[in-house]
């Protein structure tokens, strides 16, 4: 800590910060552009100048750039000094010289950092009368729009895109007052994190194209604190709604999770919420009737569904890892725990339970995304993180970059001095080792890579554990060069202060997980202060495994054996989990198939009865992320406000109403908190979820929290096409949020749940500063969510022992290839794949072969390959991988028309001769 005097007042600040951070953390307004809490300082824009005095008697002082000036104890500063004020005003005037007067048509307007800073510095009149420099814009793909004339050359975009996110195709060109930020040529931005440019850019050079297609000003959007459902990372988001449509998704700051950044799936994958083909009404399908679907009133739907379920011999409920804990629990209550399936395939469910045991019993804690950044050696086993849990890949990059920060730190270069660190460290990184089946987009930060089949990756991991701890089972027959690589890694691990082991579900391999566990246990045994990160496949996989329930295979078998004749499927497409044939055979035996879902999946299309469920945007619930963090997402809008007939409700509401209708009793659960509490009471492992967010009675100064900004306009007219009588705003009994601009939206009172970031004078995402304990730190009320899984204290003595079922070496055949799953951020996830912009970025399904196999087989680059796996036959275009090992082929998983039961199996290949 240090004491500084600012404009005559004394403050205690963190002595490791720079002056700008210190001032902002104190809540003082100093304008800035190039500095960013996550990107550090480069001192290029000159906007944050303040006066620094030699001592308390110095009256002249000198101007310094606050972002480039470290804190000195007992120093004297002035923000309000006349010269400093004038200097800052002149900088904005320079920066604004070429800036167009296009705020009214600019998508950034209303949440623009440049607007905020221009107002803050008092520059209200343009004196520049000469011609402005203009640029041509580039096509950058379906996500990000480019408008270079607005650029003020702060360099934040390239610093984020290249330095922070490891992108290679965005650069800065030209010199002096004529610089251009863009790609070397028009084309799609290749980074999985390109959407963050829209928030990192202080003005409207990079804006959200998906938002632009149905644009609404920030002040006219209705927001809610939400959780991304795109993968298991648990990133916090702020979806914005207008007229019953989600219009955009912005990042929501959580100091322990995603901080300022999201991946492009999370930001641009929301389109499925707005799709016209969603079921919005309860439907009854009577195959004997002539007419197709019969829509029902809510009461009729409940009565007729209850009647059919009552008639059934036995009802089995199939839950879903993409649905909330509350909805899954409501289903479990409806059908009874003995009839409840998690809806997860048996192998995956087994691995989820294994993961949870590992997290409790390896002895190593699992880090938050923020904590991942603070590891100094990382081993990744099997996961192509950029495609399966992209935000974690971004954290991993920061862990690697931590090497540069640490190295520079030894020479007293502070961690915020970004340019000096990069100059000094010359790309030095903390060691990251990647063992994956193919090349990945983290290879550029890897000190070493290993490529093999899933079993070989497991053997590699087992080898590391054995080399670290002689008592761990050894692999025996590892090749010499692999042994050498293992020895190198072990050396690095032993020298590390905080090593991290990462594995996950994507290869569907128990062996890979067990190998990761052995390494973790060996790390713990060696007395190293390590961590273990395990990545399940879906948003609530962790939560569902904690809730418990049988596998989907069990449920399917029960139907096949005619042990049950009715199924209630909750937000789950069974065809994505088990072979279509098995699902079909089972469902043929089901007399009543009730599907409660928001998306017309193939399962939903087979249903006898469909009840329209809420997506994340229309409902609330709790999810458990990969680190075991329970987080609540809140309803963004009430769909029936604009569509009075819309019957969309949270699945738990439907299921509970159905339950009470069947039992002919009154509804018990009238609000979310009751359900959450019941889950917590029923499942000890989930007891903590009650505290994942404040309950519905939470008030600030007697007020609810506003979902819309103060200036939200047109409320009286918004529904005028339906009725000129303005109805009462929807009442939200489930949460502390109001569907209104009335309510608390300030920064002074601590609160975790923040629908949108705004503070007087701060309209851009930089307003998050105002909610934090220190800029870039944690929210003052604590970061949202609650962690449910911590390692057992006695794991050393009572926990799992080393696994010894090490797979045997890979067997190469001349006529058979093992099929491994490959993943794509855009395309492999079910719901986002229904968003049009994501579809534009999704490749056609393909078969990947290693270069050596392509040569041996004499395949033509442009050819198609016929793949026979079991009874499946696929004709796929060829894609050549530089790293895929011989004898292994990769096929993208989660894609339409790619069967689910080919992975891990052996395939025969045939080249399709082109006509």
């Amino acid at each position: 800590m240090a004491t500084i005097h600012i404009d005559g007042k004394e403050y205690e600040v963190d002595g490791a910060d720079n002056l700008l951070q210190a001032c902002l953390s104190l809540g003082l307004d100093v304008p800035y552009f190039c500095w960013h809490p996550s990107l550090g300082s480069v001192g290029s824009c000159r906007q944050c100048a303040v006066k620094q005095y030699r001592d308390k008697d110095d009256t002249r002082g000198r101007l310094v750039m606050s972002c480039m000036t470290g804190i000195q104890d007992d120093s004297y500063i002035s923000i309000e000094d006349d010269e400093a004020v004038k200097f800052r005003a002149s900088i904005v005037e320079y920066l604004m010289r070429n800036h167009p007067h296009d705020c009214p048509v600019c998508a950034e307007g209303g949440h623009c950092h440049l607007q905020d800073m221009t107002v803050m510095t008092g520059h209200s009149k343009r004196r520049y009368r000469q011609e402005k420099r203009t640029h041509q814009n580039q096509y950058l793909g379906p996500f990000v729009k480019h408008e270079m004339n607005r650029c003020i050359a702060c360099y934040r975009c390239v610093r984020f895109y290249k330095d922070y996110a490891g992108g290679t195709d965005l650069g800065v060109y030209g010199a002096h007052d004529n610089v251009y930020f863009g790609r070397a040529k028009d084309g799609v931005l290749e980074s999985e994190f390109s959407g963050n440019l829209t928030e990192v850019c202080p003005t409207g050079v990079f804006t959200d194209k998906t938002h632009g297609d149905h644009y609404t000003r920030k002040w006219d959007l209705q927001f809610a604190p939400s959780i991304c459902h795109g993968c298991s990372s648990g990133c916090n988001t702020s979806p914005g709604e207008r007229y019953g449509e989600v219009r955009r998704i912005e990042n929501r700051y959580n100091g322990q999770v995603n901080q300022y950044f999201l991946c492009d799936r999370g930001r641009f994958g929301y389109g499925y919420v707005n799709n016209a083909d969603r079921p919005r009404l309860a439907l009854l399908r009577d195959p004997s009737a002539e007419e197709a679907d019969i829509t029902l009133s809510v009461d009729a739907a409940l009565d007729r569904t209850a009647e059919r379920l009552k008639r059934a011999r036995r009802v089995i409920g199939i839950g879903s890892p993409r649905a909330s804990l509350e909805s899954n629990f409501a289903l479990r209550e409806l059908v009874g725990a003995e009839n409840f399936s998690t809806g997860i395939e048996a192998g995956e469910l087994e691995r989820l339970h294994l993961m949870q045991r590992m997290l409790r019993e390896s002895g190593l804690p699992t880090p938050s995304q923020r904590e991942i950044e603070h590891h100094d050696a990382v081993i990744v086993l099997g996961e192509d993180l950029t495609q399966t849990a992209a935000r974690i890949a971004l954290s991993l990059r920061q862990a690697a970059r931590g090497g540069a920060v640490e190295l520079a730190g030894q020479y007293k270069i502070p961690d915020w001095n970004a340019a000096a660190i990069d100059n000094y460290a010359q790309g030095y990184k903390h060691p990251v080792f990647m063992a994956t089946v193919t090349e990945t987009k983290l290879d550029d930060i890897a000190r070493g890579t290993y490529h093999g089949s899933p079993d070989e990756i497991a053997r590699f991991g087992f080898g590391i554990a054995a080399a670290l701890d002689a008592s761990a089972p050894s692999v025996g027959d590892l090749d010499d060069d692999v042994q050498r690589q293992v020895a190198d890694i072990v050396q690095v691990l032993k020298n590390a202060k905080r090593p991290l082991i990462i594995a996950g579900e994507s290869l569907r391999s128990n062996a890979v997980l067990k190998a990761a566990f052995n390494i973790a246990k060996a790390v713990k045994g060696a007395g190293l202060n390590g961590s273990l990160t395990l990545v399940p496949s879906e948003a609530n996989s962790m939560g569902l495994a904690m809730l418990g329930g049988e596998s989907l295979d069990w449920a399917i078998k029960e139907f096949a054996r005619e042990e049950a004749d009715a199924a209630v499927v909750l937000e789950n497409d069974l065809y994505r989990r088990l072979p279509a044939k098995r699902v079909d055979e089972a469902l043929d035996n089901v007399d009543t198939l009730l599907v409660v879902d928001h998306t017309p999946t193939p399962t939903c299309l087979r249903a006898d009865i469909v009840l329209p469920a809420a997506t994340f945007a229309e409902g609330d619930g709790t999810l458990v992320s990969q680190e075991g963090r329970a987080q609540r997402f809140f309803q963004v809008y009430d769909p029936s406000y604009y569509r009075p007939n819309d019957q969309t409700h949270e699945a738990w509401r439907w299921l509970h109403a159905l339950h009470t209708t069947i039992e002919d009793r009154k509804v018990d659960w009238t609000q979310l908190d009751q359900v959450t509490l019941e889950v917590a009471n029923a499942v000890p492992a989930l007891a903590g979820i009650v505290d994942a967010a404040p309950n519905a009675s939470f008030r600030i100064k007697g007020q609810k929290i506003a979902r819309s900004p103060h200036r939200s306009s047109g409320r009286t007219a918004m529904r005028a096409n339906l009725s000129v009588v303005e109805p009462r705003q929807p009442q939200d009994k489930d949460s502390m949020l109001a569907f209104s601009m009335e309510g608390y939206n300030g920064t002074h009172e601590p609160r975790q749940q923040i629908p949108f970031a705004w503070s007087p004078g701060w309209n851009s995402p930089q307003a998050w500063n105002k909610f934090q304990d220190e800029v870039g730190g944690s929210l003052r009320a604590g970061d949202p969510g609650i962690r449910l899984i911590e390692p057992d204290a006695d794991s050393d003595t009572r926990g799992l022992g080393y696994f010894s079922d090490i797979p045997s070496a890979f067997q190469l055949y001349h006529d058979r290839w093992q099929v491994v799953p490959l993943y794509h951020l855009h395309g492999s996830e079910e719901t986002s794949a229904r968003a049009k912009p994501v579809q534009e970025r999704t490749p056609d399904a393909y078969i990947a072969l290693g270069a050596a196999d392509v040569e041996t087989l004499g395949l033509d680059r442009a050819s198609k390959v016929r793949v026979r796996v079991g009874k499946h036959e696929l004709l796929l275009p060829l894609r050549i991988s530089s790293q895929l090992r011989r004898g292994v082929i990769g096929i993208p998983r989660g894609f339409e028309n790619i069967p689910v039961d080919i992975f891990g199996e052996w395939a025969r290949l045939e080249q399709e001769v082109r006509a």
Binding site: T168, A184, G890
Partner: protein
């Protein structure tokens, strides 16, 4: 960029295949890389090597150079657009670099520029229609004591005046 994902989109790699560096150019660039700890440091020299043969650096050459250096094309493009002496458009057979910095400016830069304009018909940034000369400005040739100064290709000329300027240029066919 990994090949597996790059097929999705127009990649730098595919661009690089469109432009052929000669064997000599490639060898020279690799030799330059050997002088530095980091291949990136050879960016300027690599671009000069391309410019030496062609007289300028076409857009298609950027990914080709980037591939040899093993760095992103956007980085090479950044360097190639930053330095005014890396030409990104075709230039004439001879380059006139006329100094426009302080001392030369005072001592007659503008007169010389006018003379060139009237005699050759080109202003700064332009090339004669017969592709003989391209005129570009340059900032200080270190000859302020003998200003105004200019370079034509690799030769430096000092104490220029409208009277002796054209006879100097006449030597360059």
């Amino acid at each position: 960029m990994s090949s597996l994902y790059s097929d999705l989109i127009t990649s730098d790699r595919a661009e690089a295949l469109k432009y052929e560096l000669t064997e000599e150019e490639r060898a020279e660039i690799i030799a330059e890389i050997g002088h530095y700890e980091n291949p990136r440091a050879a960016s300027i020299e690599a671009l000069k090597i391309v410019q030496k043969r062609q007289g300028w650096v076409p857009d298609e050459a950027i990914p080709a150079v980037a591939e040899v250096l093993g760095i992103p094309a956007s980085d090479v493009e950044g360097v190639a657009t930053f330095y005014s002496q890396i030409f990104r458009q075709p230039v004439g057979r001879h380059i006139i670099r006329l100094c426009d910095s302080m001392v030369c400016f005072i001592n007659g830069y503008e007169t010389l520029r006018g003379k060139i304009k009237s005699e050759l018909g080109i202003d700064v940034g332009q090339t004669t229609s017969d592709d003989r000369f391209t005129l570009i400005p340059v900032v200080c040739l270190g000859n302020c004591d003998k200003s105004p100064a200019m370079m034509v290709d690799d030769d430096t000329y000092s104490n220029l005046s409208p009277d002796n300027l054209m006879s100097v240029l006449e030597a360059y066919k």
